[in-house]
Structure formats: C-alpha cells, structure tokens
Symmetry: D2
Subunit: 216 residues, 4 copies
C-alpha cells in the first residue's frame, strides 16, 4: 500500500529572488521510495489564492499526508509548527500587494487548529539525523499561517489525513545578501530534512511524548 504525500512550497516573496521552501520541495518532485509517493505544488504568496491552489492540489492528489513548507528568514533551524491561528495580520504586503490586518481567515472558524503531523517524532528524527530542528509555537500571521490554517480547516473532517506546516531557514545565498549576520541552511540539508519529515509522518502512529514547548 502506498502513502500519498503532498508537499507544497511558496513562490518567492518580500523581494527575495528565490524561496528555499519551493527549492526544497521541488527537489522531491517524483521522489518515490517503498510505500511513499510524493506530489509537489508551488503556492502563490497571496492571501486566499494560496489556499485555493492548495485545495485544488488536495482534490487532485487525495493525499494521506500534507506538509506545507515555508521560508522563515532568520530562524536557525527546521521548525515544525504546532498550531495555526485564525487571523491574518500581515507585517508586509503579499505578492498581490494586499496587506490584511486582523482579519479572520475563516469568519466562523475555530480560533486555531493543531497540526496532525507527529511533530515531536519529526523533530526527534531530524535531530537524530544531525539536522537542527525544533517545535515552533507560532507560524506567524502572514501567508504561511494562512495556508496552514486553511489546510487544517479543509481537512477538519478527515482525521486520517495527517497535515501540518514546516518552516525552513534562508539558504546561504540569501543570508549572504543580508546586512547583518543571518542564519541559513544548505539546500541539501533542507531536502534531506523534508525526506525525514515525510518518512516519519508516514511511519509514526500518534506521536512521541517528548518535551518540545517553551516557557514563553
């Protein structure tokens, strides 16, 4: 039996010429190993449209696992997001020049959804493989969180489809253009990290019970 996996990555935004999320995701296009079939999609960095493209991809591929991937410029490690919140509050404009402030994503939706990926098991497996990783308690309030929330909302009646969001750092070539020293990660390590996340999401029932929170 094959587990069907949908991976998404965003197009570049905020004046970056490249988005590591898409670079890492598209490197896995057509990746197959025993029991896993991966589909990839690029999402526009646009409120609303991004969720539309995601929903079409879910309809087209009928995945068992969905991992949306986004760039978190400045973060030092691969961060597996715990929770999506029902708010758009954009610090910058999206790629259609829209900057939503304090709008609910789904007007009557719940305040938040938790990821249904085994987030602790993924972080554990990444670290065991020598890749820095941690659980994140916030995916922000921009298009990444928007897509993450819409993903979980779309799948709310399908508890057997596991889904969530992973943030990855800048690529070295992006960090090299920042005015101040900024963390980055090699593309190969991001791609390997996504492979590990996919394998773990396909293999682990429930989740590991391992501390991954913060005091604040």
């Amino acid at each position: 039996m094959t587990t069907t996996v949908l991976l998404t990555g965003f197009e570049p935004f905020n004046q970056q010429p490249i988005n590591p999320a898409w670079e890492a995701v598209r490197a896995l296009e057509g990746w197959r190993e025993e029991g896993i079939a991966v589909h990839v999609r690029q999402l526009p960095c646009v409120f609303g449209d991004a969720a539309d493209v995601l929903r079409e991809a879910i309809d087209a591929t009928r995945p068992d696992v969905v991992i949306a991937v986004g760039q978190a410029g400045g973060r030092a490690d691969i961060t597996v997001e715990r929770v999506a919140i029902n708010i758009d509050d954009a610090p910058i404009a999206d790629n259609r020049a829209v900057q939503l402030v304090d709008e609910p994503i789904v007007p009557d939706g719940p305040a938040a959804y938790f990821a249904t990926l085994p987030i602790k098991a993924i972080v554990h497996a990444l670290r065991a493989a020598g890749l820095p990783a941690s659980v994140s308690q916030t995916a922000g309030t921009f298009v990444c969180n928007h897509v993450f929330y819409q993903l979980m909302h779309t799948l709310r009646a399908q508890p057997r489809t596991r889904a969530g969001f992973i943030h990855i750092p800048f690529l070295p070539q992006q960090a090299a253009r920042q005015p101040m020293p900024t963390a980055s990660m090699a593309l190969a390590d991001m791609v390997e990290g996504l492979r590990i996340a996919v394998r773990t999401a396909c293999a682990v029932q429930g989740d590991l019970r391992e501390a991954g929170g913060g005091t604040h």
Copy 2:
C-alpha cells in the same frame, strides 16, 4: 461607574528568587483613579492550582477587565499576548515538580482562545509613552499559557469581560545574574506599562487596526 480590574502575577519559578510579574502587579494593589478599581492576586506557578486561584479571584472580585502577567526571561519588551493554546508542554518542571508534556489543558476545549483585550491599542499606547512593546503570537506552553487559556475558557460566556495576558522581561537584577548579556526592564517602567495597559483596556472599545503580526 467604576471598572473593576483584576491583575495577577506569578510567584517566582525556575530558581529565580523573584518574579517581576508579581513585583509589578503588587505595586498596583489598591491603585485607584477615576473610574478604575484594581485588585491583585498572586498565582502559584503550578499547573492546575494557578487556574484554581485565578477562578476564585474572578468569583471574588467580579472584574470587568482581567490581565494576567508573567515573566518572559530573555524578551526585550513588554509583550501583549494574542492567543492562548490548549496544550501543556513544559520545558521545565513547575513549582510542584510536575512537568506535563502534550496534555490538553481542557480536554474538550477549543484549540485556542484569542485575548479579548485591545492588544493593538495597548501596544500603541505603550510605545507612545516611550515603553518598548509588541504583540506576541505565542505565550509558550508552560504555566503562563495554561493560566491564559484557563482565563479565557472561564470567561468564554462573558464576552463583556475583557481579558488577556501580558509578558514582561527580567528585572535588571535578574539579568545581572545571567551568564550571557540578557535584556531587562526597570520595575518602574513595568508598573507604568501595566497602568497604561489597564487604562487602555478600560477606555478602548474594540481595538485599533494596526499591523502587529509576523511573517513567521
């Protein structure tokens, strides 16, 4: 007509001899100005017990506004929390030596509650007064978030009571004992910050519409 305000601050935790949240809150005990009456309570830094004491205080004081205050060691500014999530995932033990991992706070509760304080107006007023402040998208997963979630859950059927959570930095004397340079804030500025937060919560209907989010 008087607005009744309940402020809470935690006892010290994590080997700190002092908790700036309680120091700042207790400085406002008995503070009265036209239209505002303030009550204060100390909360134990203990899962469960902290929420019990909070609920008793709400029953006893019947507040119109509740602001729970906690220490966020390492943060540089006053952070007004946006959202409480339904999970206990403790990176350290609480003051009864309990370290909960991935337990829901309220088993059938919603995934999250948003603060009902005017968080943007409070941040705006703090900055206008020369106090560094920002909206925070995560209150962590320790006792602060636990109390914040229980606060909002307790008040879920009382939409006219505005409530939320504010994190404050270390005091200078705490930062002075850290091994690495660490941000802090003077007690007088914290106290003034809480006064401003209380006044703003009492005065502002709805909230300001001003960007306060993050890309991640």
Copy 3:
C-alpha cells in the same frame, strides 16, 4: 585628596533624537561626593573633532580618571570595553557626513590600546548592585572606538591616569521606536551604573582577576 574624573558622552547620531550616553553623563554634572569631583563634556559624533574636544577637556580638567561613554544600540547590558583598535571603518556616516573606511586613527600608532580602568572590578561592582554588565572585547570601528583610541593614545605617557570606555544600551523610548523588539535600560540605572563605575575606578588599585572573556 580629591580624584578628578572626566566623563564624556556623545551627541545623538544615526537619526536618533537623543543619545543615552550624553543623557546619563550630563546627569552627573557637578556630582560630588567625598574624594570625587566630576566634570562632564559632550563630544560631537564626528571623526577627528570628537578627539579634539576630548583633548581640550583633558587639558582643561587634568583628570585622574577619564571614562568616555557611548551608545550601543541593541546591546542588552552596560559593557565595559577592553580594547581600542587603530582603525576607522565606519558602517554609517558620522554627523559631518564623513564615512571613513579602513583608515588608521593614528598613522604610526600601535595597533591597539587596552583600557587602563579596572574593567573587571567595574563589571563585578555593577552586577553586585543588580545592574546587568559585561566586559566587551570590541568597541566597534566607528566614532566610539575612535575616541577610545585617541583617549588612550593621548594618555599613553601618563600611566597614572586611568581611562577607558563604557557602552550603554538604548533608552526605553529609543527601543520603543525600533521596528523589532530591542533591549533597553532605564536612564536612572545608566546613571547609577556610571556612578558605580566612577567610584570603582577611583577606589580599586590594579584590577580584579575574574574571567570576563569570550571563546570568540
């Protein structure tokens, strides 16, 4: 016998309306306590001119102790500088719009001078008083380092005059205008910190032997 102390602080620079170094220093104008007499001077944030004003002040006041004070926006604590290096390499223009790049401050001068203040004793006394402080291994390569170097160069034949440089963080009102959360310190704590530094510099022979370095 009275110890004569010269304190200097810079005028505002880099579009800041205020410089905490000058605010803290001028609060000590005319401060006298048993055995200590303090003189203060404002320095322009201009390569060359700053050192000229400093030398005139040294000639006019004949100090036993000189502490130049500067703003280090973004640092979290009071940093006592260890070493001044013989290079101007400005990341921004000075207040006369000059941006020197890789020019020696004194063409035939030594590569560096160490502060002759008891830097470890000052850090120790600050922390003991509850003020966050540390030794810094770099004063940068802008006008602060320029003045620090010229100060030590001017006094190179007067080993009994103890001199050095202290960096202080942003004031809260400056941090409140930064786009991202930024550390700050209350003016009263800065002023108290300078008092402690002055008293320690006047009282301590030699220096404490206490680790204050970094691995990098």
Copy 4:
C-alpha cells in the same frame, strides 16, 4: 611560481565531539590547483602548545599565506577576523584544564596585531559566491585569539607572509544537539569558503576598500 599555504584547524574542545575547523581544513589536505599548494595541521586546543605546533608548522612548510581556522559556536556566518589582542582571558578551561585569566600572551608584545590577509576582499568574494560572511572585530580571548596573536607575532618581521584567522559556525550535527535553536553551516560550504579565502589571499594585493566595521 607556487604560493604555499598553511591552514590550521583545532581539535575538538568544550565537550564537542568534533571541531568543524579541523573537519573543513583537513578536507583541503593535498588540495592543489594552479599556483597553490596547501598544507594542513591540526592544533591542540591548549594555550601555549597550540602556538608551538603552529610555529613548527610554519618552520616546516615556509608558507606564503597562513590561515588559522577556529569554531565560533553560535555565529551564523564565516567571520574573517580583523585583529588579535595580547590577552588570554578564558571563559572555559582549555583541553589541559588550564583557564588563564588576564594574562598577556607575549609579556612585552604589542597590545594587538591586525590580520595581514585581505579581509575585505575575502568577505566580498565569499558573499559573491553565495556564502554568508562578515568581518569580525573580535576573535575572543580564548585559544583562537591566542593562536591568532602568536601567528602574527611570529610573522611580525615577515610582512610578505600574509596571515590571519577565520572563524566558522557549528556544523548542523552540532547545532542539532544544542538546547536552543542555533545557527550552523554545512561542511561543504565551509570547505568551499576556505578555498575561496585561500584563492583570494593568494590573488589579491593589498585589500578591497569596502566598509566592514561596526558602530559598536
């Protein structure tokens, strides 16, 4: 005509099982390209001994260019050091359990030496190649700075031998074991960075004139 290059990297220290400096340096053992011959040496992380091994290596290889490489755990980019200072002030013990505090490295030596590598040209070339890099104004006060100072002191009468120090971040597998998210760099990028540094040191006369300093 061949330019002889000596690269050194330290053995592991501070409980790390590996030192990225040595891993990156030893990957270049025997590297040859037109006009460049590279020798590598491992240095003990021990005050005094490290400098002895370095001097023996210089005697044995008679290099035209020397680059000592060290680990700067926590830094996000490749940092080319500007200056070595004449002080040992160890925050931790070295690998022989010695923790020197405020001892001059060379009792009658100058306060500092500047690197004679083209530090700005190296940073420029690294960034142009997509590798994050910056000039650093401090190499710390531990064994890295000790070796850097002794290197420049040893070569003080040989101005035609260009020498300096480069710090590199943690490897991903080291960052994966840190308790908090920590920056890292892939080994392949470190190795490529050192190749670029070597080529630039061999090719560039003088240095680029490009701002690389800090306000503090």
